[in-house]
């Protein structure tokens, strides 16, 4: 097991180096100095309590979406449908939360809405698993399609009555249904949902390594034909894993709706499903790695805002895309370099 891990570390370092070079070139081409841009990016994130809080807020959703992706990847499946699960869950939490009595207590509201978020997310990605397991349809295609349907559905439901009159969002949640912000980061949206994210990431690592369910899922990821031949219920596990992944993705609503906005609207936290997938691809199976990559992407995302006056913040998306591409090809480059070393 050690050799692949060393190769993976080398590959990640290589990818980091290549991405850094690409970033520097882009900044230089813009006519700015990479050093001072980085300094400003850092100052705008970890330099202030507000900035750090915003990073933690963004990292929370990325970590949850990342866990959703990591869960599916364990079984060798790409959970593209997280994006749709996040959107639909957010609307459900917003719509149901707003209908809770104004005096509702957090002891009732928090678990109830968390349950809503997870079950709506799971139900949303369930068909992806069924299509995969029973009809052999590729989960990426169904995932893309369900995401698009989710977008249309959310828009439709908001337009047909779920939105508050003369607005584009649901009515605000009662105070008891909103999450507590983190004190040390005043003004930022950082909230206690971050502990949910950490708990989910750590719990999944334990489930994957220690339980029968996790071990069977890992076996399916290693070889579905062998798993089938040895009597593992591959189809059922695939359906379960994609639903579980959707449930975890749905929990993003805690952070965005209950922790930040206080209501649901169209396009809330859009794109986070994909960033989470990127984080999971980078982190591999490591839970610490996933939390670290979530912080990294969140820093880039928040830092993009702080450098936007000097250089377009979209450079961050470009860097993230390049990181994914470089990580994807790095093993091959590493292998090639290794061959040349031996020759």
């Amino acid at each position: 097991m050690n050799a692949p891990r060393a190769a993976r570390t080398r590959a990640i370092l290589l990818a980091a180096l290549l991405s850094a070079i690409a970033f520097e070139l882009a900044v230089l081409a813009w006519g700015e100095s990479p050093g001072s841009i980085l300094a400003q990016l850092f100052a705008g994130t970890w330099g202030t309590r507000f900035g750090a809080g915003q990073v933690l807020f963004k990292a929370t959703s990325i970590a949850l979406a990342g866990a959703a992706a990591q869960i599916a990847l364990r079984a060798g499946l790409f959970q593209i449908g997280a994006e749709g699960a996040i959107a639909v869950s957010a609307l459900a939490v917003g719509a149901i939360g707003a209908r809770l009595p104004a005096s509702v207590s957090p002891i009732v509201a928090w678990p109830l809405l968390a349950l809503v978020a997870a079950s709506v997310g799971a139900l949303w990605t369930l068909p992806i698993g069924v299509l995969r397991a029973r009809f052999g349809a590729h989960e990426v295609i169904s995932g893309i399609m369900t995401n698009k349907i989710a977008g249309a559905l959310v828009g439709y439901l908001l337009a047909r009555g779920l939105a508050e009159r003369a607005s584009v969002h649901t009515a605000p949640l009662p105070p008891g249904a909103t999450l507590v912000r983190l004190g040390p980061f005043p003004g930022s949206a950082a909230n206690v949902a971050i502990f949910v994210a950490i708990a989910v990431v750590v719990a999944w690592a334990w489930i994957a390594r220690r339980t029968v369910f996790g071990r069977e899922v890992s076996a399916i990821g290693a070889s579905d034909t062998v798993s089938l031949a040895t009597g593992i219920a591959v189809g059922r596990r695939q359906i379960e894993i994609l639903a579980l992944s959707g449930a975890v993705a749905g929990l993003c609503a805690l952070n965005d709706v209950m922790g930040y906005k206080g209501y649901a609207e169209e396009g809330l936290s859009s794109g986070v499903g994909f960033t989470g997938l990127a984080a999971a691809l980078l982190a591999g199976r490591s839970s610490v790695g996933l939390l670290a990559t979530a912080l990294f992407f969140a820093t880039l995302s928040q830092g993009g805002l702080s450098i936007n006056a000097r250089i377009p913040m979209e450079i961050v998306d470009v860097v993230v895309a390049l990181v994914i591409l470089f990580v994807a090809v790095a093993p091959r480059i590493d292998e090639k370099l290794g061959e040349e070393d031996r020759a």
Partner: protein
């Protein structure tokens, strides 16, 4: 309802379908060669910006067209490098390229035009908007280019050396290699064609709207992907479904003041249909056997 059965309505439907047609032909080339392609959306986007940038920089819409197509080809060549030489997962590559295209075009929009939303207006190739929709569609050279791409794809895939090789490497790459067909090169050529044809969809969009605006592909690449799947990876049915989606959207536009169908319902139609097809017809509409296999 009589407004549904006019020539103008038909023209509108065809116009809406044009980018779906071009991009779905692109998807067919790539996937029939065995390379999954979720990067059609990004290809449309970079080609649209390429067309606008080419037009404003050279002053010629024709040169803009060429720059746009080249931009699409470039993105797909990156896909080819990452997947065929880097041996990366094609889904990962495609998603990253979509992100790269979305971020990169916004970045360049700021760099070139100092705007975060849209470029200045460009002339395009179609006659001025004052003429009727039907006239504008018929007299637009890009309409005929899309038609040529569709006919070309249908004929080339069945009847040319390249088409035969593309079908072979997408089904059984080892067999193709054993008789001397260069698998990676054939796939790279197919991806370049994908870049140009999906790129044509982007150029059409830019010329139609006479500018580039951020995120203007608006999910058309994914509708094209849906079209490819529903059509069972075959070009002729893809034409039918692309036109069907065009008619549905045109009908929705015509009827929207009557509030008969919500636009979201029409919007979701291709995707719902794809899921239905995957659930029911997938055993007949089989994807290329080596799709996603190195």
């Amino acid at each position: 309802m009589s407004r549904l059965f006019t020539l103008a309505f038909l023209a509108q439907a065809v116009r809406i379908a044009l980018p779906y047609l071009a991009a779905s032909m692109g998807g067919i080339w790539s996937e029939r060669a065995g390379v999954p392609n979720v990067a059609l959306e990004g290809t449309i986007l970079v080609a649209a910006l390429g067309a606008v940038a080419g037009t404003t920089l050279t002053g010629s819409a024709w040169l803009g067209l060429i720059v746009g197509l080249l931009a699409g080809v470039l993105l797909q060549i990156v896909h080819a490098l990452v997947v065929l030489i880097g041996r990366a997962n094609a889904i990962v590559s495609g998603l990253a390229l979509n992100l790269l295209a979305a971020g990169g075009t916004r970045f360049l929009l700021r760099a070139l035009y100092d705007s975060s939303s849209n470029s200045p207006a460009i002339p395009g190739l179609a006659p001025p908007a004052s003429t009727s929709l039907l006239r504008a569609t018929v007299l637009d050279p890009t309409t005929w280019m899309v038609a040529a791409v569709v006919v070309g794809t249908i004929v080339a895939l069945e009847r040319t050396r390249l088409g035969l090789r593309v079908r072979a490497v997408g089904e059984h790459p080892e067999a193709a290699a054993s008789v001397g067909v260069p698998v990676a090169r054939t796939r790279a050529v197919a991806l370049a064609i994908t870049g140009a044809t999906a790129g044509l969809a982007g150029v059409w969009l830019a010329f139609d709207q006479r500018q580039f605006s951020s995120g203007m592909s608006g999910g058309r690449g994914f509708i094209a992907l849906a079209t490819v799947v529903i059509a069972g990876w075959r070009p002729l049915p893809a034409v039918g479904f692309a036109l069907l989606f065009g008619v549905a959207e045109a009908a929705q536009i015509v009827l929207q003041d009557q509030n008969v169908v919500a636009h979201q319902v029409v919007q979701a139609l291709p995707y719902v249909l794809t899921l239905v097809v995957l659930a029911g017809w997938v055993r007949r509409a089989r994807p290329p056997a080596a799709l996603g296999r190195p």
